[in-house]
């Protein structure tokens, strides 16, 4: 780091510098992307990780388009063909599917991290609101995606989505006709158009208003996230489900995990628009108004017990409704209505009581703790970075490269053996190994040469310690 890069005579470097210089006349002048030179907590750039996954979804989705036709007759067979016959189709479809899950998860995690660290302050309201819209649209994008399979579950999910639109007050039927059309052959084309073009375009435009000017792109963490997507895909390969047959009504199905909370509300049997539309909207509204209520100068969650308590309460609510939405009485001898029906009195009572308990508990605990800590100075401790010696760095890097070679060979072999989920797992593992390797190489610091002319009182290790502190 100490030695500044000299003006290079290398032609390629010159060309790159020339291009970077000219890029300053473009919109990229306003964005500064930092590639961190040391480990940073990924919590701070979860948004960028969401974007990385968005790009992966764009690439894999564009590839999947080549073999997919959005029609009631062919949709399922096309996906099955991609999954079973097209070379590497299994892998690409799995990356796309698990990428969508990861994107929803990362977006929600990003929301909560920014919420608890009070980042919607300091004139970030526009970024906050566009982020919320992006989050909702992300779930819609994922929803339109899993509908394109046109299996039993997709058929039911489309029905519910369209009829919920239809059940909106006043403009419902017109809105339904406008967005979805009428009949499944129209639904599926429109879902496709929304999924591959309209919603991604909306997201891209919203991103222009959501990206802050300073971004962190961390290569090892991004690689690790992608690797994790592949590993999860290898462990839990995406299922095809049962092809929808118009001659046989579907059985009981549960929506994707990000919608089971909503499913739990609907299962209580109250008015469909209220349970499926208004109640979930309350959560979004809560997040929408927070930056306009929380006007204090304090940022960290420790100093904002009220909003921390609200945030934790909302997490508790999401967990309760999500888990409850998943749960279906396994006793299939019972009538379906008894297995599916969620008793509203106990459900809503538990929801309200747990929310109150969570809020009051967190709030009073944090207030009490703050009262105890009055006058005490807050000590911020940072973990010491682990630095390996030159020898151990070399040894571990070589071993990791050998491991990557091994993983590559096994991935190739398991692909040929048609153990495709194993291939996916091994590619993902190789990605994660690369992440570790990158991290080690980045963290390596060349040993300092002892300064011989220094004051004799100084211990020889001192400069190295100082460098490590930096």
């Amino acid at each position: 780091m100490a030695e500044k890069s000299k003006p290079s005579s290398n032609l390629i470097v010159k060309l790159l510098l020339w291009i970077i210089d000219r890029l300053e006349r473009t919109i990229f002048l306003g964005i500064k992307i930092t590639l961190p030179r040391k480990f940073l907590s990924p919590l701070g750039f979860l948004g960028m990780l969401t974007f990385v996954v968005f790009v992966i979804l764009g690439v894999t989705g564009a590839v999947l388009m080549l073999y997919y036709e959005p029609s009631t007759a062919n949709a399922f067979d096309d996906v099955e063909n991609i999954q079973e016959n097209i070379p590497y189709g299994f892998l690409i479809r799995n990356i796309h599917y698990h990428g969508s899950n990861a994107m929803v998860f990362l977006a929600v995690a990003h929301l909560y991290y920014q919420y608890f660290s009070g980042r919607y302050k300091i004139r970030n309201e526009i970024i906050w609101v566009t982020g919320l819209i992006l989050g909702v649209i992300t779930v819609l994008e994922a929803f339109t995606g899993y509908d394109l399979l046109y299996n039993d579950r997709a058929e039911l999910a489309v029905s519910i989505g369209v009829s919920l639109t239809n059940a909106s007050p006043v403009i419902g039927p017109v809105l339904q006709q406008f967005i979805w059309g009428s009949g499944f052959s129209e639904f599926i084309i429109r879902l496709y158009a929304l999924h591959v073009f309209v919603i991604p375009l909306m997201m891209t435009v919203l991103m222009l208003f959501h990206f802050p000017r300073f971004l962190v792109l961390d290569i090892p963490i991004s690689t690790a996230v992608v690797g994790a997507i592949l590993v999860v895909g290898g462990l839990m390969p995406a299922e095809l489900g049962v092809k929808f047959d118009p001659n046989f009504p579907p059985g009981i199905t549960v929506p994707e995990w990000y919608l089971t909370g909503l499913y739990a509300f609907i299962r209580t049997g109250y008015d469909k628009f209220f349970t499926g539309g208004v109640l979930p909207l309350l959560l979004i509204l809560m997040f929408l108004v927070v930056p306009f209520i929380d006007r204090g100068r304090k940022f960290t969650w420790k100093d904002r017990p009220f909003f921390t308590a609200i945030g934790l309460t909302s997490i508790a609510q999401i967990l309760i409704t999500t888990v409850w939405g998943f749960y279906i009485d396994p006793d299939s001898s019972k009538p379906t209505v008894l297995r599916l029906f969620i008793e509203p009195v106990s459900f809503y009572t538990l929801l309200i009581l747990s929310s109150a308990a969570m809020f009051v508990g967190t709030y009073s605990y944090m207030r009490a703790k703050a009262a105890l800590n009055v006058g005490k100075k807050r000590v911020i401790t940072r973990p010491k970075p682990i630095t390996l010696s030159t020898r151990w760095t070399t040894i571990s890097v070589v071993l990791l490269v050998i491991f990557e070679v091994y993983l590559n060979i096994t991935a190739y072999m398991s692909y040929n053996a048609k153990l495709w989920n194993l291939t996916l797992f091994e590619i993902g593992a190789a990605f994660m190994v690369f992440a570790v390797l990158f991290h080690i190489v980045r963290a390596y610091q060349p040993p300092m040469t002892p300064i011989t002319t220094a004051v004799p009182a100084k211990p020889p290790g001192a400069p190295a310690v100082r460098a490590a502190e930096k």
Binding site: S71, A73, S159, G183, F184, S185, P246, I266, V337, L340
Partner: protein, 248 residues
Amino acid sequence: MSQSEKKNEPKPTASSTAPTVAPKPAASAARPSPVPKQPLPRAQPAGRRNFLKFMGALGGILGITPFIPFGAFFTASATTGKQEAQKILLPDGSFANVKTFPPDSAVIFPYPRTGDERFDSEPFRRFMLIRLAPQEGGGQNDASAFRAYSMVCVHLWCLWDYKPGRQVQDPKTGRTIVGNMECPCHGSNYRVTDGVAIYGPASLQTPPNNAQPMLDLAIDSEGFVVVNPPTYTVDRNGIIGYGRKVQA
């Protein structure tokens, strides 16, 4: 031309706000203007200015107005088949006949049948033909033994299924009904005799949103079950996905 206008414009405003912003005119006075002074455009009367703005806005609105009906592009309805009397085609290629169709069983069929698989497989054009259990009058050899309901649940449009032989208790009369119509999504149950929801979320919806649309059936001279052309209104055959008014 436009540049000089722009440069000139701030000056009158600066002088007009002179009492409040003191240093500005002083600074401009100290520094000689590089642009030679030109006659300022005469201030227009406020009334005329507002009128011109209004006309400009009106022109903009009139320019957009012709595009409003373009919304119809999104709401074009799908081609509908002919609403005519049709026999009911069974999956084995034969037609449903009162002599051969067993009691307490059901089959899904498209109406109106077009021969185009794209339309015939459409869930909104699918109906369930049910021959009631003998206890419910399925033993009769006339149209009263049959029912044909829309497959689309009036709650959230999932597709319900007929469960032969299953016994459910009618919550109103307490009578046990044999054969049950049941939705897999949220568990709505319908009374097989008239298509009114008796359990689950659909039963909590207010009439007419609690009953399945129903087709009128007849038996022709050879014993085939025939669908009479329906009228999709709440009072008659009902509206698919919406409901049907049932006379108590």
